[in-house]
Symmetry: C3
Subunit: 674 residues, 3 copies
């Protein structure tokens, strides 16, 4: 577990460089990311490269045993390039070149821009490929799906559609263009989604545009990756993902890259409403799931955020270290903090780093140093992995489809996944968030929330999983559509209905309203939960034909009707949860599901405390993290066994301060301890 920082030598007087490098060494920093915004300084005039300053910075860190990760500086072309080649500027939804002056304004498909990228990257990688301290490259920065509407991109989109379908007739069928006389008679009529009324556009077309936009970004990443690899056979290559509005498909994005890296900014203010899910554990499990292996944090919360928005509250004590440890507990092998120093200039000057403008070491730097020390003691974690029995399926297709057509007021795809992640987490059960098309062998439970859009592969995979003994959880909005984002004309959950033993007779998109429900199945454990149980957002009215009813509605015209069911399929089970349950009911349901699937769960884990396990060579590290602002106490068989007299009190209770992480060590065979 490697702790590092992001550093911008170009922003500071050379006088500070040595001081900073010395202090980093002293703190225990192992790796530094640099240069991802420095194109202007690396090529101050066309074709005139100046790497001398970067050489110097690299050397400074190398001398102190600190590795360097370089960013290809292509996010921000120099000003002379925009002026000389205005065609490299992105176009907006009106087809007009956007205003430059911020960052990320380049069109990823522009041939001129790509050539300029080729030159600067070649220069960079050739220079450092033999430097053992430069260990890898981050491609560009926080890439989004390519929504550029310039003529080059419009043509690329047309090529995408033509390549996928071949003829306009096939396009028209795939999109259902007959509606509102939208049928193309020529590919020339196809354009990116100009205009501001995107929610009125054909959803099949829009889903394809989203797919294209993602592929377009992936193509750009591949262009850089191949170039770097052609120059340096050994360098690590990645890019830093972030969960933005226009996310590309992360599975595609990282497919060719060596590992996933992620920019991790958990909340500094926790929400008061208990239904609100805030933990970044979900994001971290999502990142680990992309390549189903450990990952890096390329930017980690270091101070209060702000800049283009008003400043937010500063991280509470414990957050700097705790959130980093949380990342490690979920599989981060390196964690670079953004940033060592808070910028004194530029638009980002209030996006705080570890060191404030004061240049006086403070509370947050202290916590960071503490983190470095702890990381040093956890060296053995290197090579350890996380193995879970529960998976939740993510799919960018759903993400796009939900954004194109919001299903009910307040209903978001991501939140649905988070709720399932949270429900198993609350039982101390580790969860993998994985691509919907992943192989599912090895999992006991697979949750497939709101698979609005389906395709042959997922249908086949999920059937196989349940048939062979897996416990599959389907939910409302599963099976609504085929791969073209057109509705499937069959009773919901359509392609999955043969598994569920229940069909949706009717649905009621209640949005932010709440309806009372009752738990009816066995094994719930806590009957008084009924009193407060409610559902929200969406109500499928289920007609069971064979399935066991788990939840039923107790108000409105579907009073007494089934809301959730479970049904044997093959040697497995198929759950169908037709509504969105309140948090506590979700926890009870997850426990019940775990119990039936013989997945170990853990008692007395307070809400907000997160338990994960990394393992290696027969050894286990059990992490207990208090992701709340209150002191919490855990006391179960595991804490008694592993921690009594050590991390825990004599009675086996493990006490955790706010954002504190405690790590228990065990033999791997002792895995199932309830």
């Amino acid at each position: 577990m490697k702790i590092g920082v992001d550093y911008y030598p170009e922003q500071w007087d050379r006088a500070l460089w040595k001081e900073d490098a010395d202090n980093m060494k002293k703190a225990g920093v192992k790796i530094v990311r640099m240069a991802e915004f420095a194109w202007g300084r690396l090529e101050p005039a066309e074709g005139e490269f100046d790497f001398s300053w970067l050489d110097e910075a690299v050397a400074l860190f190398a001398e102190r045993g600190i590795e360097v990760f370089l960013g290809t500086p292509t996010n921000c072309p120099p000003q002379w390039m925009f002026e000389k080649y205005p065609e490299i500027i992105q176009a907006d939804q009106g087809g007009n070149r956007i205003s430059i002056g911020i960052r990320g304004h380049r069109c990823l498909n522009s041939p001129v821009f790509r050539e300029k990228c080729r030159l600067i990257i070649t220069e960079m990688v050739s220079r450092y490929r033999d430097n053992p301290w430069v260990v890898g490259y981050q491609i560009d920065n926080e890439l989004e799906a390519n929504y550029c509407c310039c003529p080059v991109c419009a043509e690329r989109f047309r090529e995408f559609v033509r390549g996928k379908y071949g003829t306009v007739e096939k396009v028209n069928r795939a999109y259902g263009n007959v509606v509102w006389s939208g049928e193309y008679s020529d590919f020339s009529q196809i354009n990116p989604p100009f205009g501001s009324f995107r929610t009125w556009l054909n959803p099949s077309y829009m889903l394809d545009f989203n797919r294209y936009a993602s592929e377009s970004t992936v193509d750009y990443v591949e262009f850089q990756r191949k170039l770097i690899r052609s120059l340096d056979e050994d360098a690590l290559i990645t890019t830093n993902g972030w969960l933005c509005e226009n996310m590309p498909d992360f599975y595609d994005l990282f497919a060719g890259l060596d590992f996933v890296s992620y920019d991790n900014y958990p909340a500094t203010v926790l929400p008061e409403e208990e239904e609100t899910l805030y933990s970044h554990a979900f994001h971290l499990d999502f990142m680990r799931g992309i390549k189903r292996k450990n990952f890096w944090i390329m930017e980690q919360l270091s101070g209060g955020l702000g800049s283009w928005t008003p400043m937010q509250p500063t991280p509470r004590p414990g957050m700097i270290k705790g959130y980093a440890m949380q990342a490690a507990a979920h599989g981060a092998d390196a964690i670079l903090h953004f940033r060592w120093r808070t910028a004194a200039a530029g638009a980002e000057m209030f996006w705080h780093g570890l060191i404030d403008h004061s240049n006086v070491p403070g509370r947050r730097l202290e916590e960071f140093c503490d983190l470095c020390r702890e990381a040093e003691q956890l060296k053995e974690l290197q090579g350890s992995v996380i193995r879970n029995q529960v998976a939740v399926l993510y799919s960018s297709e759903q993400e796009y489809a939900f954004k194109i057509q919001p299903q009910a007021e307040g209903m978001h795809y991501f939140t649905q996944l988070k709720a399932w992640h949270d429900a198993f987490t609350a039982q101390g059960i580790g969860v993998d968030i994985i691509d919907w098309h992943s192989p599912l062998q090895g999992y006991k439970i697979v949750v497939a929330p709101t698979l609005l859009v389906t395709d042959e592969k997922i249908v086949k995979n999920l059937h196989a999983f349940a048939r062979e003994g897996g416990h599959l959880v389907l939910t409302n909005r599963c099976g609504v559509k085929g791969e073209n984002n057109q509705c499937i004309m069959a009773p919901l959950p359509t392609v999955f209905a043969d598994m569920t033993g229940a069909e949706v007779r009717e649905y009621d998109p209640i949005g932010t309203a709440r309806k009372k429900i009752r738990l009816t199945g066995d094994g719930w454990g806590q009957e008084d939960a009924d009193k407060e149980a409610f559902c929200t957002l969406w109500c499928d009215i289920l007609e069971p034909h064979g399935a066991e009813v788990l939840v039923e509605y107790v108000e409105d015209f579907y009073e007494g009707e089934a809301a959730a069911t479970v049904n044997p399929y093959g040697s497995g089970l198929a759950y169908y949860v037709g509504t969105v349950l309140n948090r506590r009911t979700m926890h009870l349901l997850a426990r019940s599901i775990a119990e039936r699937a013989d997945v170990a769960y853990y008692e007395n884990i307070p809400v907000g405390v997160e338990r994960t396990v990394r393992e290696k060579d027969g050894r286990q590290w059990v992490f207990y993290f208090n992701n709340t602002e209150k002191r919490q106490s855990v006391k179960n068989e595991e804490t008694r066994r592993l921690a009594a007299g050590k991390a825990a009190a004599s009675d086996g209770a493990l006490t955790l301060e706010p954002f504190e992480m405690k790590i228990l060590q065990a033999e791997a065979e002792g895995r199932k301890v309830i």
Copy 2:
């Protein structure tokens, strides 16, 4: 009373057509609307027409005795047309062509577009004019006032202004252009309202632009109407109106058409706040009032709405049938449900029809079938009409003027009319909503709410009405302006002040605040209503000189001042209501007004229950509709007399389930039963 559906054969496999037609016949469907979005399929390439599929569909319905209403498909030109003739695309407020890809993008004034319309309509009408099953044509779809800002339209607007005023001097005077040096020296300086700050523009100019925009759409309708009529002497011709933000004047729009038709989507979730008026009875009476005769519903609520917005809750049990019966009770002679099948493709796929994507007949289709059966039993209603003694005046001039210059925070023109409609409805009194310039003979009570803009004709008409014995209700904001939307320099209600016996000394636009009031006049009936009485939005402080005071303020600096008055004028009465009363006080006031006017009202009608009467040849059908989510009971002289032992319990109480309609039959002479 004819029940029908909207159907889109072009969207479905031919295999489904027969099944659908059979099922419609079985359900009792009498009429089907088709083709209003099918231009792309009817003219797949320029000048190449293909009506074969429509022929087939028409034949299928004809064979089953189902009539066909065709839409002229001009709302959505084919893609090839937009590509070849980009000048047919509307221009936005910046004068730029908008982005196509949704619907309704054509410029109504474009000569090229009109020629293309001429060709397709000629093709269509010539083809079906001799087919007895094709009974009529809907012109285009849900037309809005023409806000297009293309050069052609800009010139049309200039012509409108020149035609109306002749010289720029007259324009300048009419608009008061001297303010802010806005005087034109040449017609070339006149443009449509470019830019996004319309509320800052000259309101006289803006009102004229709204008039032009309405006339422009009417001109387009007339162009299509004349063309159709020239080809087919007998076809029914209409267009389907909807209450959109940019409504054209409906009286002008339908002036040349055979009857009004309307797209009727009542709320599926009723508001909890009791001051919120939700009943579509107002809209229905508005539609009947346009031509002062019965009308059609061309699109009727069939399922949960959604698509470009998140899905809304599904219609509660009773709504499908009940809302259709409500339309019939207010004068709908045909009701076509939108739509038979929910679309599986395109932007509107979650705007639910009667049959869900599941293709399994469900609760809503069942209710629809029930409706068809009941309609069959109500055949005698054909030819029956509605005659009311109370009219509320609507004027698109006010609608436009209020939108151009909002009078107080939260004050809307439509809501003011709805409140008066609701107040009389609550007494079981039928109300006509009619054009402000209509003849008023035959009415006992005429309410003229917020006549912000006036002209000579309305002043003359209203004086004559009261002089000859009518009871006239004027309100706050009446008489503020002349026809040019400039303020009249006289004490309010200016041109009406000679009738009211009271003048507005001062006004206070209190917006969403509330002020206590007290009822002071005789005949209110319920003194305890005082306790909760309040007013909102606007407070005229009245100075009576002869008028009787009905309501007075009991707080703020106008405590004790008059808020509403009544005054004899000629052989009639003139009320002036200077504020906006809370709902219950409005109900009491309406009853008091009815009493003085000798208009029959009905006791014990719960709020939300609506009573209407259709009559024919000395017979009456009395409709009682429960437009609430609770069971309601009505018990008055009428229910005792007409329903005891039949629809009602033995004590004469008529019990209505949520959204239930009960119809009582009577002789016409028994009309006045209190």
Copy 3:
């Protein structure tokens, strides 16, 4: 003290002119402003001037002894000018010419426009320079900083930057352009801030753009001022300032003008939340502070506002007179009401004047007449001035910098200043709001709130002030940045830290949250205030090294830490208030500060009652104004001494009706009466 009105003869029939002039004379009007929007009538065609109507109007007032103030009509060029010279139209953030049709659309830098201005102004001033009744000129109307993005303005901005820095290297350093590769290699790359994402732009560049935009407007004012002065040596010259979003720097704006004038529209609805500061006393003191002398009100509230927004509630009784008297009490020597008559046409027809559309004299005109009478009796006030011992520093640099980078959710620069003004006002202590670069001699207390941006001059001045015995109040966000809007790398308050005896160890931008605090210093007087004391928006955690702690936090992780301190510096004191206190605590703090500084304060002044003093030749007028909607009573040594038996009751209590002003007279030496 001169009372006047704004009048638009061009908007009215000549028949009304005489009636209006007669009525004004009768009311006691002394001065009329005219013509600022009348270019269209003064130059109806290019080069054809028609001043005959204005001559007539001027003569009408002159005959009645009423002075005339003329506006240069350059805010609204005639329509023919926009048509013939479209290059005079402003460009928006996209660089496109805006839509005309409202007002203020001209580009201040356009050479053609300036030439047209030269001609009309020359015509006007030459015509009236010898007319003794035309006493002065208002330049244009309500000028904003020049944000025009046309090519001419873009070039002007480039010239501004080039002129300031000389080389792009210096620009790059000043802006910190190295961040995100923003370094210019040529001045041609510099543009105004195109696009809609301004909060993402470089804040150093943005601050300079704001400076340029202000200077650009000032340049335009100077162009007009010089022209007028060259034609008329004696005329009064001013412009009417208003507090708009894009304010120019008022100190620069009025530097060359004879006096400040201001458009004064206090609230007609007072807020219910007691933390909300609404008094316009702040604005008035701000205006007086600009040139540190008395000022004019060029537009004063006369009726309910409205037009492009819905109408607002009408002024409550007392407001017309009371708010005018409040202005006088703060140094207004002339108060012109906007407007005599409410417009009957044009976009502003519901921005009410003294006379309603009814043309019937009403309550507001009556109050106005009463005001005129009282003004007549206060003639002796002429030449009296206001001298205060407390100053609050304002700086447009901060205003701009806060808008560019909001510091915390809900934190606004202006509100911070208002809070300090309010705190001293609550003690009956007069406050000057003055330019941050003003000389500070003569003040006992200087408050410098949130000096985010600093420069050498302010650092030197504030040190000198405290060193020489002044009591200086600094707050959170003081000293964050240098003059280029880059952060200073030193412990806050950086350049002031040597004075405060305390440093900011860390800060927490809590936004709208609230945290409990405790008063710890001496002299607070009311210990029970502790119970409700809270802070909000921003929390500096202070580390005192020598300073006395005045306030400490009592919750969150900085419980027990210092929030406000005071420290001796030179022979003075330096306060540092690291958070934003609730209103009552601010009042207590202000009293404590006054006490230490030996500034007289007054007991028993209810919140909302404002005390000010004007003085002349050894005489004082003490104004007590009730700026609340309730009757209030003041009883302290001063009221006992000056008012007993006269304005006050026998026990010395001064009772004030809502918005009532009472004036006590005294000898100047009796100044310090507590």
